[in-house]
Amino acid sequence: MTIDIKSLTIIQALEGMRNKKFTAVDLVQGCLANINKYNDDYHVLLTVVDEAVLLTKAKEIDKTDYSLPLSGIPIVLKDLFSTDGLRTTAGSKVLENYTPVYDATVVTKLKAAGAIIIGKANQDAWGHGSSGENTDYKPTKNPFDPSRVPGGSSSGSAVAVSLGMALAGTGTDTGSSVRLPAAFCNLVGLKPTYGRVSRYGIIAMASSFDTIGHITKTVSDNALMLEITAGKDPYDATTSHCPVAKYTQLLSSTPKSITVGIPKEYMIEGIDKKIQKSFEETLSTLTKLGFQMKEVSLPHTNDAMACYYILVPSEVSSNLARYDGVRYGNSRQSFGSEAKRRIMTGTYALSAGYYDAFYQTATKVRSLVKQDFENAFRNVDVIVAPSSPSLPFKIGEKADDPVKMYLSDVFMCPVNIAGVPSLNVPAGFVVGLPVGIQFIGPQWSEEKLFAIGAVYEHTNKIRPVSQSDQ
């Protein structure tokens, strides 16, 4: 039977299979039909698993009683996730022909949970970008307006979910890369606490910032994905012993007397008036839901971006030093412009005579940004903020001005500097384009973010992509 994958959630798909309404084979065929229909125009997936392999896997699952937490659920992986025997490019020409010989821990966990890996999603090369345009392949387009960017760097993961090529997309968030594409594509995306999900086998961007999160249609799907992938991993020493909550079971425990903080520093001049208006509507919705509102201050917000663009390129230049074209991959000639720019910036910041002024100062400012959030969370349970100061912008609009592009992430990067979690939830549409808001919490407060996100989400109906159907 034909299934409308674009509007189907993971939870609904599991129910459908368990109640014998459809099979895993139906799901896989539905995803493949959308890949055939859209991939050439929207540049979403860089590698698609062979159809025969996918159908064999789906048939095996159809012989079971679908008791695994993700039995038969089609998933795409951002192309930073190492997959045994499946090409992994990081969106870069350096790794154009690279096939890993092992799985990332998250991939191992997803496979063990019964998920079917459909393919590998396009992205800004190495995770360097906010729009998806920094891919070394063809840039992914926004499903709501193909002349606009889908947000990055996990661009293909978001668009794959939006266009029904999979029911979830995995991502990484170093500065915005799960939340921004989720916001620009009307989806839910979590940047978890640093160390909540293992980074083992995921191609590193900036190791002290990188987090692994997922993009889904609903908060409950996202909670399920985190529940399966989170936890201590002996192969990643930065993962935490902090117990993983049963996020899906805590969703219905409606949070009571929640105080929501609104950072006054985020009401900047550069914010799009239409976003501002939409955000004010969100605040009044939250008030009607019974949340208390309170202004908070994050005084180092402006310094956070400069801090980010010192520390992250420094770590990038170090992490990308391993690509020598000797053991695997093409030579360093194959790096794209943005990777070269960040390697150059980081190398300069770490070079003799500049280390104290740049890197050392930035690690101290990092402490100040972290303190800002800790102080705010003494007075409020969560912070709410627009996910982006602008609507999804036109492809090419910011391509020639790296600093302007960097500022697309001004509401998001401080979260990564402080290592706290943040959940993007769709907040409706403005002039036909999706708008997102984010709920930011203290470290290890993911269950609270999911519970609040679920309450807010119910005020907005899920609206699958429409433009591409025309």
Partner: protein, 101 residues
């Protein structure tokens, strides 16, 4: 604030350190763009950081150790390790000679 400007010598020096080979067009473009990025990040110098401790591990983990034991489950075979190498020779990675005769 004073505008930063990188000279072509600076660009050459940094690209050598980073082992990147830039075209002439890239060098002139990066001189402009990196100068703008430096202006942007240089504003951090104005933040007061006296008596502030640096942060390198954001969740406060310290001294994470493991037993010094070989974990065979994550070891690659020689064949696997060489699987993606552009050039191999008798089970080794092959590289260009860096010494003369």
């Amino acid at each position: 604030m004073k505008q930063s400007s990188l000279t072509s010598n600076d660009i050459d020096h940094i690209s050598t350190l980073a082992h990147l080979f830039l075209t002439d067009d890239e060098k002139s473009l990066f001189a402009i763009q990196l100068s703008a990025i430096l202006d942007f990040i240089s504003k951090l110098q104005k933040v007061s950081t006296t008596n502030i401790e640096p942060t390198s591990q954001i969740t406060g983990l310290q001294n994470v150790f493991r037993e010094d034991e070989i974990d065979t489950s994550r070891m690659l075979s020689q064949k696997q390790a060489l699987a993606n190498a552009p050039a191999t020779y008798k089970g080794y990675f092959q590289v260009k000679a860096i010494f003369g005769e």
